[in-house]
């Protein structure tokens, strides 16, 4: 992705918000990146178009899945200086609680980073960090194809 090179050239390799703003689908979801030191917190501000169940109401599982995936990839890009966007090989998502119509936060941990593949775990929560709404673990391809 050209943006990764541009950010590095401008010495803004850690500017994850600029990266997120560059991805049309992330922009469409309204995702924000908040960085404090070495920790990246991703934010999915609530909006009506994220709803999957109008009766509860609850967030759409797909929106939650997409947010987990983006949280994982952004953490990976923050930790490493990949030249290209890591490709998702697989992701396994556990839905733990129904997502309420409020803002959602996400953090990811790179559990292992190899030369070609990285293992990343991610967790989402809403008003209480100790009550996650969803968790995922995924494998991401780092090496150029």
């Amino acid at each position: 992705m050209r943006i990764l090179q541009q950010l590095r050239d401008q010495d803004r390799a850690g500017d994850m918000q600029a990266l997120v703003d560059h991805i049309p689908y992330a922009r469409f979801l309204g995702i924000q990146a908040d960085i404090k030191g070495s920790e990246v917190t991703m934010i999915l501000p609530f909006k009506d178009s994220l709803i999957g169940n109008v009766n509860l109401p609850a967030l759409h599982g797909g929106a939650i899945g997409a947010f987990l995936e983006i949280t994982s990839v952004v953490q990976l890009l923050f930790n490493t200086s990949c030249e290209r966007l890591p490709k998702t090989i697989d992701i396994s998502i556990d839905y733990l609680r129904s997502g309420k119509p409020v803002d959602t936060f996400g953090r990811a941990t790179v559990t292992r980073q190899g030369r070609r593949v990285a293992n990343v775990r991610a967790e989402l929560w809403q008003d209480d960090r100790s009550k996650p709404v969803a968790a995922s673990h995924g494998h991401f391809l780092l090496a150029p194809s």
Partner: protein
């Protein structure tokens, strides 16, 4: 995804935002389409749609497949317990995406669904998924 017992044609707001359309129902299988759109792109350099769009469509189509199963009856609510997605290859930019899902087992509490995301050939999929859904989950706001 959690769904209500609305008809198969009723899209949740997020399904509508992505642009999911029901294409066909044959037995236990259902097929949906996502027309290619600029806001679904994951990498603006290539125009390839984001994996998250595929995740959302697989999840939505998997929920719909349960309602195609012969033992499902109107009024059963459901919520995704887990979904595992394997990405086989990037989607070709500019082409519509299809998902065919099949609910192959329904028990008293759980439904099992697999799904294929593809563009022109289901035997050369973009992604596949396996999901399980809890049935009879609460479907009203808790006080």
């Amino acid at each position: 995804m959690t769904t209500d017992d609305a008809s198969l044609e009723t899209l949740p707001p997020h399904g509508e935002a992505i642009g999911i359309e029901m294409v066909a129902i044959e037995g236990r299988k259902c097929t949906v389409k996502v027309p290619y759109a600029a806001h679904l792109v994951g990498d603006p350099d290539t125009g390839i749609i984001h994996g998250g769009v595929i995740t959302a469509t697989l999840d939505n189509a998997s929920g719909w497949a349960i309602r195609c199963h012969e033992s499902w009856h109107s009024g059963i609510s459901m919520a995704t317990l887990d979904i595992r997605i394997d990405y086989m290859k990037p989607a070709v930019p500019g082409m519509d995406l299809f998902v065919q899902s099949e609910c192959f087992k329904v028990t008293r509490n759980v439904a099992f669904v697999r799904a294929f995301a593809y563009q022109d050939d289901i035997d050369d999929p973009v992604a596949t998924s396996v999901a399980s859904f809890m049935l009879g989950t609460p479907n009203e706001a808790r006080q």
